[in-house]
C-alpha cells in the first residue's frame, strides 16, 4: 500500500550542519543496557531501527570520563580507544542503512556515583545529588572547568574517530552543562554563576570548543530541558532557555528539546497514565520559533498524523522517538509503506525504562518481545523463519497477552493451523479489563495490535466463548498444545510478606473482592470506606485505590512495603501517582500487614513492631491485592490426570505452558514467554529456553599470559 500523501512531509530530507538526514525520523538517545561493554547487542539493537527506516540513531548517554561513571546503571562510554572500537561497530552498521549515528556526550556531575571507577565527579556547587544517594561533587574551580571542557573535546574527537556523525553536548536531565545553567544546582558567585550570562558560560564555552574540534566533520547537537518543573530554582523556558538558544544558535546544528530534570524525568519520558502524545510540543515550538536551526523532540510519537502536523505547523523539524522506536523499530518504514495497522504502538508503560532505573539489565518492551534480543537471540522484529515442524497443528488455550503473542508468532512461522481458544467472547485475558483502570487506556494497544495481526493470518483461527476440559483438549486434534490460562489474584490473602494467608480473608464474601472480581466479573463493594491491601507493589493496588477514591469513597491503601507501588518508581509513574492519591485523599498506610479481616474492620500490625501491637482500621469493603497465582488447573489436569502418555495416545506430541500460567509476572514478560516458545517451537526441547549469546570476555592462554605479565610489572619493586 502506498504512503498517504499527508505523511510525505515526514520523508523530506533535512540538513543538520555538515550532515543530511534522509527523512525526519530520529531515534533520540536512550538507554538499552548495552553501553560500550556489549558492542554487538548495542550495534544490532540500534541497526534494527536503521533497517526500519530511521534516518539517525543515537547511543544512550555516553560518558566522557571515568569521573562520570553511572555504575550500577549502564551508560555507553568513550573513555579511551578501546571504547572507540566497540562503538564504531554501531556506527558502521547504521551507515549500512544510510542512517546517521549520534553520540550523546555525557558528564553527570553530582549525579554520577562512580561506583566502578571510584573517581570523584566535578560539578558547579557542592550539594549532593537529588537523584542518587550519598553522591557529592568536587566544587569545580577554574582549572577544573578547563579540565571538564577538555574532557568534552577529547571525547568528541574519539566520537568522530568511531564514526559518529552527530555529537551532543548534553545538558537535559540535569547533567553538567545544564547544572551550570540552573540556579537549583549552580550557587556560584564567580563568572560561572549568578547572572544568565554567567550561568550560560560553561555550556557556551564547551559548545564552542567542541564545535572548534569536530564541527567541520560532525553535526553539533544540544539537548536542553526547557522546564525542570522546579519553580524559580529550575531552568525556565523564558528566563534561561530561549536566551540560551539566542546565545549559541550560531554554534548549534540541531536542537534536541525536552522537559524535566533527572529526579522526576517522568515529565520527559511520560507514562501514558499521565500524559498523551506530544506533551512537550509547546516548549519545542517555542524554541523552534526563535531558532534558525532544526529542532527535534520527543513526544512518544506513534501517530503519523500528529507527527506530520507538528512539522507542518512549524512546531518541530524532526520527529524524535525513544520508546515508540523500541516498541516498533520499523515505525518509519510502516508509515512509508502505508501499513499503519501494522504499527506496534508504544503503550507508555515504561517497563523499558524500569530496567535502566533498576540498574544494569537490558531493556524489555511490553509490545516488542524482540527488543534487546536482536543480537543475543537473533530475533528480528519483523522477520520469522519458517518452523521446521510447521506441518503440525497447534492448540493455544487462553488468548491473553502470552497466548495471543504465541499464536501470532506461530502463525507467522507458518504452522499449518493454529487454534487460539478462549473462554471469553473476546481476546485479551486480563488485558480486556486492565486498560479500564484509571489512566491505562493506551495499554489496550497490547490487545489491539495482536488482534489485527491475528486476523490477517489465514492459518490462525480464534475460537471465542469456549471453555475446554482436559479431555476436550486431549481430543482436540492438535499435535502441540500450549496452555496460556493466565493467573488470578489470590482470594485468601496469601502474600509474599508473611508467606501465609490472612485470617478472615475470603473474596467469596460480599464485602471482600479481588481485582479480577471487581473488573472482570462486575462485583461491587458496598459502603463508603474501602481498604485496599496491596503487597503486589506495582500498578494494581494503586489503580484500584484511585478508582474507588475517584468514585468518592474514603480509601485506605495499606501495604507491608515501605512505599506504595515501589515498582512505579522504576517506571517513573511514582511521583504523579503519589500526587494523585494524595489529592484524592487516599490514606496511605505503609509498613503494615493485616493480621485479620473482620466485617467492618481490618486489624493490622506494624511489620517492625516486635511486640505485634494491633491497630484497627474501619472498613466496609476490602480489596485483596496480595499476590497472584497461576491459573494452571488445566495444565495440571493434562499433565497429571491424562498424562503425557495419554496425550500421546490422542496424538498430542507436546504440551507446554506459557505466561502467567507458568508464573505470574509483568505483562512484558508474559508476552516474551509466548514469543519465546513460538520462536523456539522447533528446538530440541522448546520447554527449555535456548541459550543466548553472552557478551563477555572469555580468557584464552595468550591473554592470560599477557595480563599476568602486566600484573607482575605493576608490582615490580614492591616490598
Amino acid at each position: 500500500m502506498a504512503r498517504n500523501p499527508k505523511h510525505d512531509i515526514l520523508f523530506e530530507p533535512i540538513q543538520i550542519g555538515p550532515k543530511t538526514m534522509k527523512n525526519r525520523f530520529y531515534q533520540i538517545p536512550h538507554c538499552n543496557g548495552f553501553g560500550s561493554e556489549k558492542p554487538l547487542s548495542q550495534a544490532y539493537f540500534r541497526a534494527t531501527k536503521a533497517e526500519g527506516g530511521y534516518a539517525a540513531v543515537s547511543t544512550e548517554y555516553c560518558s566522557i570520563s571515568p569521573e562520570s561513571d553511572d555504575t550500577h546503571r549502564m551508560s555507553a562510554r568513550l573513555w579511551d580507544d578501546e571504547d572507540i572500537k566497540n562503538l564504531s561497530l554501531m556506527c558502521d552498521m547504521l551507515h549500512e542503512y544510510d542512517c546517521l549515528s549520534a553520540a550523546e556526550l555525557w558528564y553527570g556531575g553530582p549525579h554520577a556515583p562512580c561506583m566502578e571507577s571510584r573517581c570523584v565527579p566535578r560539578g558547579p556547587s557542592q550539594i549532593p545529588s537529588d537523584f542518587e544517594y550519598l553522591t557529592y561533587a568536587i566544587e569545580a574551580d577554574k582549572d577544573d572547568i578547563r579540565h571538564l571542557q577538555n574532557l568534552y573535546v577529547e571525547a568528541a574527537k574519539r566520537a568522530r574517530s568511531a564514526g559518529f556523525d552527530i555529537v551532543y553536548v548534553y545538558g537535559s536531565h540535569s547533567y553538567l552543562p545544564q547544572q551550570f545553567l540552573t540556579p537549583f544546582y549552580n550557587k556560584r558567585t564567580d563568572e560561572y554563576g549568578g547572572s544568565f550570562e554567567n550561568r550560560a558560560r560553561f555550556w557556551r564555552e564547551t559548545i564552542e570548543q567542541v564545535k572548534e574540534a569536530v564541527g567541520d566533520d560532525c553535526a553539533i547537537a544540544v539537548r536542553m530541558s526547557t522546564d525542570m518543573f522546579l519553580g524559580e530554582a529550575g531552568t525556565q523556558l523564558k528566563r534561561d532557555c530561549l536566551p540560551f538558544v539566542e546565545l549559541v544558535d550560531h554554534l548549534v546544528d540541531v536542537w534536541d528539546i525536552n522537559l524535566s530534570g533527572i529526579a522526576e524525568w517522568g515529565e520527559d519520558a511520560t507514562p501514558s497514565r499521565f500524559y498523551a502524545e506530544g506533551r512537550a510540543l509547546p516548549w519545542q515550538a517555542a524554541v523552534k520559533e526563535i531558532s534558525k536551526k532544526p529542532v527535534l523532540g520527543v513526544g512518544r510519537w506513534t501517530n503519523p498524523d500528529a507527527m506530520s502536523d507538528a512539522i507542518r505547523e512549524g512546531k518541530l523539524d524532526i520527529i524524535a522517538t525513544c520508546r515508540p522506536s523500541t516498541s516498533d523499530p520499523f515505525l518509519p518504514k510502516k508509515i512509508e509503506e502505508g501499513r499503519l495497522d501494522d504499527i506496534r504502538e508504544c503503550i507508555g508503560c515504561n517497563v523499558c525504562i524500569s530496567r535502566w532505573e533498576i540498574g544494569g539489565p537490558p531493556l524489555i518492551c511490553t509490545q516488542n518481545a524482540t527488543a534487546g534480543e536482536e543480537y543475543r537471540r537473533a530475533w528480528h522484529p519483523e522477520r520469522y523463519t519458517p518452523a521446521k515442524n510447521a506441518d503440525n497443528d497447534v492448540l493455544v488455550v487462553g488468548a491473553g497477552p502470552a497466548g495471543m503473542e504465541c499464536a501470532m508468532v506461530l502463525g507467522k512461522r507458518g504452522m499449518r493451523r493454529v487454534h487460539l481458544v478462549d473462554a471469553n467472547d473476546d481476546m485479551g485475558g486480563t488485558m480486556r479489563w486492565i486498560p479500564q483502570l484509571p489512566g491505562l487506556g493506551e495499554w489496550a494497544r497490547v490487545v489491539n495490535y495482536r488482534k489485527i495481526q491475528l486476523d490477517k493470518l489465514e492459518n490462525v483461527e480464534f475460537i471465542a466463548s469456549t471453555s475446554l476440559s482436559a479431555k476436550e483438549v486431549a481430543e482436540y486434534g492438535a499435535e502441540i498444545v500450549v496452555v496460556a490460562t493466565g493467573s488470578y489474584w489470590a482470594t485468601d490473602g496469601l502474600n509474599g510478606a508473611s508467606h501465609d494467608t490472612i485470617q478472615g480473608a475470603d473474596a467469596s464474601l460480599p464485602w471482600q473482592a479481588t481485582p479480577d472480581q471487581l473488573m472482570g466479573e462486575g462485583k461491587t463493594l458496598d459502603g463508603e470506606r474501602i481498604l485496599v491491601f496491596d503487597n503486589d507493589g506495582y500498578f494494581m493496588g494503586v489503580s484500584v485505590a484511585e478508582m474507588f477514591a475517584s468514585a468518592g469513597k474514603k480509601v485506605t491503601l495499606m501495604t507491608p512495603l515501605g512505599n506504595v507501588a515501589p515498582y512505579m518508581h522504576f517506571t517513573l509513574e511514582a511521583p504523579n501517582m503519589h500526587r494523585r492519591l494524595h489529592s484524592l485523599g487516599v490514606d496511605i498506610v505503609t509498613y503494615h500487614l493485616p493480621s485479620r479481616f473482620e466485617e467492618g474492620a481490618v486489624v493490622a500490625t506494624h511489620v517492625y513492631d516486635e511486640h505485634g501491637h494491633e491497630k484497627t482500621w474501619e472498613a466496609d469493603g476490602v480489596v485483596l491485592v496480595s499476590q497472584r497465582r497461576s491459573n494452571d488447573s488445566l495444565y495440571r489436569a493434562l499433565k497429571d490426570e491424562i498424562g503425557l502418555d495419554g496425550l500421546k495416545a490422542e496424538g498430542v506430541d507436546a504440551l507446554y505452558r506459557i505466561g502467567d500460567c507458568e508464573a505470574p509476572r509483568l505483562i512484558a514478560d508474559a508476552v516474551f514467554s509466548g514469543h519465546r516458545l513460538a520462536r523456539e517451537i522447533d528446538s530440541p526441547d522448546p520447554s527449555i529456553p535456548l541459550p543466548f549469546r553472552r557478551e563477555r570476555r572469555v580468557v584464552d592462554p595468550a591473554f592470560v599470559k599477557a595480563e599476568r605479565g602486566w600484573y607482575a610489572e605493576q608490582l615490580a619493586g614492591a616490598v
Binding site: 500500500m1 492448540l395 493451523r417 475460537i463 481430543e475 486434534g477
Partner: protein, 248 residues
C-alpha cells in the same frame, strides 16, 4: 429428516484492492476465502435439527474446486455429506439457484436452509429464488425455528424491531439470519477428518443466462462532503448553520 444447507465460499477483501486485467473482478490475489458468515448459522441450525429429530445434514455449494473449503468447514462442524455443483459460470443468483434447484429435486430434502445473504455479493436473492424454482414455500430472515410434524413455526425478522411469527408446511426453504444460534467451532481433529471426506461433484445443467459483471471499479470520490473540524461546540455550531442554510 433430511436438511439441505446451501452454502457459499465467500471472498473477503483485505486492505488493498486490485482488479483483474479485464476489469470485471477483483484480482484473486487480493482476496481471502471463507465460509459465508450467514451460512455458518444455517449449518448450525441444520445440525441442531438433526440432533433433535435425527436424519442427515447435506451441505451443497456451487463453485469451482476451491470452494470445497467451505463444504469441508461444514463437514468439520458435523454435516454428514457434501456436494459441489460444478460448471456454473455466472455469479448471478438466478443461475446459482437454477443449479441448486436440480440438487433439491434430486435430494428431496424436508428442509432447505440458506443464509440470508452472502457477505461478498450481498444480494439476498439466491435463497428465495431457489424456493421459487424448486416450488417450495419459503420464509426469509429467520431468527427462530421450532420444528413440528410436517410444519415449522418460525420467527421472521422485520424492520423496526418487529417480529413475524409464521407457520410453514414442510418441505420448505428458510433463509437464516445471523444470531439465530451460536455456530459451533470445528476442532482440529474434525477439520483433519473433514479433509479426508470425498465430496460428490455434479455437473450443472443449463442454468440459462444471467447478469454479467461488465466493469468493477472504485467509485471516484465525490466532492460534496465537507469535513468539519474543531471542538465539539464548533462542530455543533457548524452543523446548525448547515441545517439552517439547507432548510432555508
Amino acid at each position: 429428516m433430511r436438511v439441505l444447507v446451501c452454502v457459499k465460499q465467500v471472498r473477503a477483501l483485505g486492505d488493498e484492492v486490485e482488479f483483474t486485467a479485464d476489469g470485471t473482478d477483483v484480482d484473486p490475489d487480493y482476496l481471502d476465502a471463507a465460509l459465508n458468515e450467514w451460512d455458518s448459522y444455517a449449518t448450525e441450525e441444520a445440525l441442531c435439527v438433526r440432533e433433535a429429530h435425527g436424519g442427515e445434514v447435506v451441505a451443497v455449494t456451487c463453485g469451482p474446486k476451491e470452494s470445497e473449503a467451505a463444504l469441508r468447514r461444514c463437514l468439520a462442524m458435523g454435516a454428514d455429506r457434501a456436494l459441489r455443483v460444478d460448471g456454473v459460470e455466472s455469479h448471478d443468483p438466478l443461475c446459482v439457484a437454477r443449479a441448486l434447484a436440480e440438487v433439491v429435486r434430486e435430494e428431496s430434502p424436508d428442509l432447505v436452509l440458506c443464509g440470508v445473504q452472502s457477505s461478498d455479493s450481498v444480494q439476498a436473492a439466491t435463497g428465495t429464488a431457489l424456493a421459487g424454482l424448486a416450488g417450495l414455500p419459503h420464509v426469509a430472515v429467520v431468527t427462530k425455528l421450532e420444528l413440528g410434524t410436517g410444519s415449522a413455526r418460525v420467527h421472521r425478522e422485520l424492520e423496526g424491531g418487529l417480529l413475524d411469527v409464521v407457520d410453514v408446511d414442510l418441505p420448505a426453504l428458510l433463509t437464516i439470519q445471523t444470531g439465530i444460534n451460536q455456530p459451533r467451532y470445528a476442532n482440529l481433529r474434525a477439520i483433519k477428518q473433514a479433509e479426508q471426506v470425498e465430496i460428490a461433484v455434479r455437473q450443472a445443467g443449463d442454468t440459462a443466462a444471467g447478469s454479467r459483471v461488465r466493469r468493477m471499479f472504485v467509485p471516484s470520490r465525490g466532492d460534496a462532503a465537507e469535513m468539519l473540524g474543531g471542538d465539539p461546540a464548533e462542530v455543533a455550531r457548524r452543523i446548525a448553520e448547515i441545517v439552517r442554510e439547507r432548510v432555508a
